[in-house]
């Protein structure tokens, strides 16, 4: 079997380094223009990248978790990622479009139909990055419930019961939302539309199903108003950093994004994912794919890359830190790291360009060819959907009435 490795690009603002917008080729005054995003996605598409993701949140960006800061030297403001991805879709043909949609405050019914619609508009290249919104200031936008301030350190340490309970509530709700979306996607069988003139029926109502979901924070009756999308089920991506999210991803996602700092850390994460698999029931249709995450800044030498990073930090008057590893290096060394992850059994990587478009261009023109030369980017040449491109099958429809097989027909004819 050919070793296969997949590549995603995480798009956000002018890049992931907070000072990236000040780079000479950055276009910070175009961040709210569709044309800017189409340009970026087309760079990735022509390089043969499998998918792009779009960052989003329920509230304004902020340096900390506590609330909105008053920094005016960082990019602030974002387009709704799902609407942005859907508007890009008519401009692309063979790259996955995976917007972030938060599940905490959004209606699961709207999430289900909106992600299905992205799949229709992109004709089978839609995905969804599931994200919870754990910030108190975001909850204040809805006013329906109040949150304690999320403390990521306490969550990871698992020492504060209130924090653990909050995380469990948020991710439980996210898991329910994914479940509702998947049921809604399945709620129409294929061929439910019959256009039968003699009986006057447009629809075969027996092929459309109530989902009757009842969870702790909502109930959804169904069926979807939107018929089953082209991929059957759009690709579900979940970023995860610790036990509770690992369990959500293991139960419900198609792809989990993990954030190893080094090889030892990667080993621990894979162990924790294996533990999660022992305690949850997987409801997603295919085995979980594991992708790593990395911030990437590429120059011609490691020294130059490190120097640029230092320069950006100086401009920003703070050292840039990330939840995942920062690769400020040559294209060859970045490619070598990706190959090492591939050799360790990971299925792909989501790269976060430190600077846009600079690092996206470097990835496209330098890293991708190195991986291709190493023979790990083998793809089905005729993949017509994102699922097919990622080697994921079309999920069976849970509601589909099995068609009688030839044997059944013979059997019933005899009886």
């Amino acid at each position: 079997m050919t070793a296969r490795f997949h590549l995603g690009i995480a798009l956000d603002g002018a890049g992931w380094h907070p000072a990236a917008w000040r780079e000479p080729d950055a276009r910070p005054d175009e961040l709210f223009d569709l044309a800017y995003w189409v340009d970026l996605v087309q760079i990735a598409e022509s390089a043969g990248i499998d998918l792009v993701t779009f960052e989003d949140a329920f509230g304004l960006q902020s340096a900390g978790f506590g609330g909105v800061d008053d920094r005016r030297d960082e990019v602030r403001g974002r387009l709704d990622a799902l609407l942005l991805a859907t508007a890009i879709a008519p401009h692309t043909t063979r790259i996955g479009l995976v917007p972030t949609v938060t599940t905490t405050h959004t209606e699961p019914f709207h999430v289900g139909t909106a992600t299905a619609t992205l799949d229709y508009v992109s004709e089978g290249w839609g995905g969804w990055r599931v994200q919870v919104s754990g910030r108190a200031h975001e909850a204040a936008h809805v006013g329906r419930r109040s949150f304690l301030a999320l403390d990521p350190a306490a969550v990871v340490a698992g020492t504060d019961p209130a924090q653990t309970a909050l995380i469990e509530e948020l991710f439980g709700e996210a898991a329910d939302t994914v479940e509702v979306a998947r049921r809604l996607w399945d709620s129409w069988e294929d061929h439910a539309v019959i256009r039968d003139v003699p009986t006057g029926r447009f629809l075969d109502r027996d092929k459309v199903h109530y989902i009757d979901f009842a969870g702790d924070s909502f109930t959804v009756k169904g069926p979807s108003i939107t018929p089953r999308p082209p991929q059957g089920q759009p690709v579900v991506f979940a970023l995860a950093h610790q036990k509770v999210p690992y369990e959500l991803a293991t139960a419900a996602a198609d792809i989990v994004g993990i954030t190893p700092k080094d090889d030892a850390h990667l080993g621990r994460i894979l162990g924790e994912l294996a533990d999660a698999a022992k305690v949850v029931i997987r409801t997603a249709p295919e085995p979980l794919r594991v992708w790593s995450e990395a911030v990437v800044l590429i120059e011609d030498s490691r020294e130059e890359a490190q120097a640029v990073l230092a320069r950006l930090d100086a401009v920003h008057k703070a050292t840039y830190t990330s939840d995942t590893v920062i690769l400020a290096d040559t294209a060859a060394n970045v490619a070598a790291q990706l190959l090492a992850w591939q050799a360790a059994g990971l299925d792909g990587v989501r790269l976060r360009p430190a600077r846009l478009p600079a690092d996206l261009v470097r990835i496209s023109t330098e890293v991708v060819p190195l991986l291709a030369a190493a023979g790990v980017l083998d793809r089905p040449a005729d993949a017509a959907t994102l699922r097919a491109r990622l080697g994921l099958g079309v999920p069976e429809n849970r509601y589909a009435t099995p068609q009688p097989t030839a044997n059944d027909l013979i059997g019933s004819a005899r009886s």
């Binding site: 910070p28 508007a87 447009f202 909502f218 109930t219 108003i225």
Partner: protein, 457 residues
């Protein structure tokens, strides 16, 4: 023909020629989309939306319009299977359409009951940015236990509370749309200032319906805010519209009826300090064209029979009678039994216009007897009567007469097939309107939807 000739009407106040405004209604979930027609394509595939939108833009329509229903309709306790069923998510498909059009407005129907203001305001602002100022929002207050079963909010919001919620909803949305200063983003690479000082207004709203505190996440759109459209018809709805809306999508497509509605609603504007031209009234209208008037009538009859199948005729009657009429012959006379009244009705998920079923049934029976109508004939009369039937010249002149004589400011036009149903309107009626000087021959470059509609900016 216009009314401006001062010599023939010296006593009439001189009035400028009004321009006709047109919206294109995507024919989706309803019984009037002829799904049996061979030109009928998917109402979900994006290719249909692309064709529809690009054709409407070719016809220089002010905006295209999408209706919304958040649950599949039911009839007699089962999913209704006779009409076209299934639609995409309104906002998402409008974002896709934004990418394949340049000038036409993008108006979606979105319920205030099953959305939250912070989120919807943000989504509409995003659509307005992506489309460079072409977004509009048809505010509906649809609310009943039936739709509620798909949402967190759950069951029911009382009729009286719906517009209370809608009004406060729009107020919050407006505050969010206005929260960023017009030149908030400076993005000055040299100084390192991305946001100007005090560029972000903090929204702090505490009302009976909503508590919304925080910062909006988007700069002001090229349009400032999406155009507000309203489609309710009750007194509450009209009051709400006169305070809040910039366009009304009305059901009053008859001439006298249209004039009455027009003067009623425009008459409410002065009291709230608004100019008459700040609100456009566009009734829904269907059309059938022909080479001659007789030809058009013939086509109208044929189309109506396709729109109202025998099964649809019976189902339509069952909505009023409230009981199973499966045993009746659609080509025979109306049932002589009396309607069964219930609070629920047999049909769920449709807008209901709450008259007394016994009164309706009696009126229909009398009409059918007087004119010798079968069940199907009668249903065609009520459910598939075409607003404009005639040659392109006749239809254009009728539309123009409505507008010049204040029965409307234009129309929301819906074709009977999808997505090509408006093609012939664009080919044949639009040039007639243009020739009469009452309809644009091109869009203003870079115009926002509000500018295209001729609304105060």
């Amino acid at each position: 023909m216009t009314l401006t000739s001062a010599t023939t009407a010296p006593t009439r106040t001189e009035r400028p020629i009004k321009q006709v405004h047109l919206a294109a209604h995507f024919p989706g979930v309803n019984n009037t989309t002829v799904w049996r027609d061979s030109n009928q394509a998917s109402q979900i595939a994006f290719s249909s939306f692309r064709h529809f939108a690009q054709n409407a833009e070719r016809g220089k329509f002010d905006f295209l319009f999408l209706a919304e229903g958040l649950r599949l309709r039911e009839h007699k306790g089962l999913i209704h299977d006779l009409d076209v069923v299934g639609r995409p998510n309104t906002l998402a498909v409008l974002a896709g359409i934004a990418a394949v059009t340049e000038h036409i407005g993008l108006v979606g129907t979105l319920s205030t009951t099953f959305n939250e203001p912070y989120e919807l305001a943000r989504q509409l602002a995003s659509l307005d940015q992506i489309s460079l100022g072409r977004a509009g929002w048809n505010i509906v207050t649809t609310s009943d236990a039936f739709h509620g079963e798909n949402f967190r909010r759950g069951a029911y919001l009382d009729r009286g509370d719906r517009y209370t919620r809608a009004e406060e909803f729009v107020e919050v949305a407006r505050r969010l749309w206005d929260a960023w200063a017009p030149d908030a983003i400076t993005a000055d690479k040299a100084t390192g200032e991305f946001l100007a000082a005090d560029a972000l207004g903090h929204v702090d709203h505490h009302g009976p319906q909503f508590d919304v505190t925080g910062f909006a996440t988007l700069p002001r759109s090229p349009q400032g805010s999406p155009v507000i459209v309203q489609a309710g018809d009750s007194a509450d709805g009209r009051d709400f519209a006169s305070r809040t809306a910039e366009v009304i999508f009305s059901l009053h497509s008859g001439f006298e009826d249209g004039q009455a509605f027009y003067s009623d609603v425009k008459g409410r504007l002065a009291a709230v300090g608004r100019h008459r031209d700040s609100l456009k009234i566009l009734p829904a209208a269907t059309f059938i064209l022909g080479d001659t008037e007789a030809d058009a009538r013939e086509r109208s009859r044929e189309t109506a029979l396709l729109q109202v199948s025998p099964q649809t005729a019976i189902a339509f009657l069952e909505q009023v009678w409230g009981t199973d009429l499966g045993g009746y012959d659609p080509d025979g006379p109306l049932p002589d039994i009396d309607p069964v009244t219930s609070d629920e009705g047999v049909t769920r998920g449709r807008v209901r216009h709450g008259a007394d079923p016994a009164v309706i049934a009696k009126g229909w029976r009398e009409l059918a007897e007087a004119e010798g109508l079968s069940i199907r004939d009668l249903v065609i009369r009520f459910a598939a009567k075409h607003t404009f039937v005639g040659t392109p010249v006749q239809v254009a002149e009728t539309i123009n007469r409505y507008v010049q004589e204040d029965a409307s400011d234009g129309f929301v036009i819906v074709g009977s097939t999808n997505p090509t149903g408006l093609d012939e309107f664009v080919d044949h009626v639009i040039p007639e309107l243009q020739e009469r000087g009452v309809y644009r021959t091109d869009y203003e470059p870079g115009a926002t939807l509000r500018q295209t509609l001729g609304l105060p900016v």
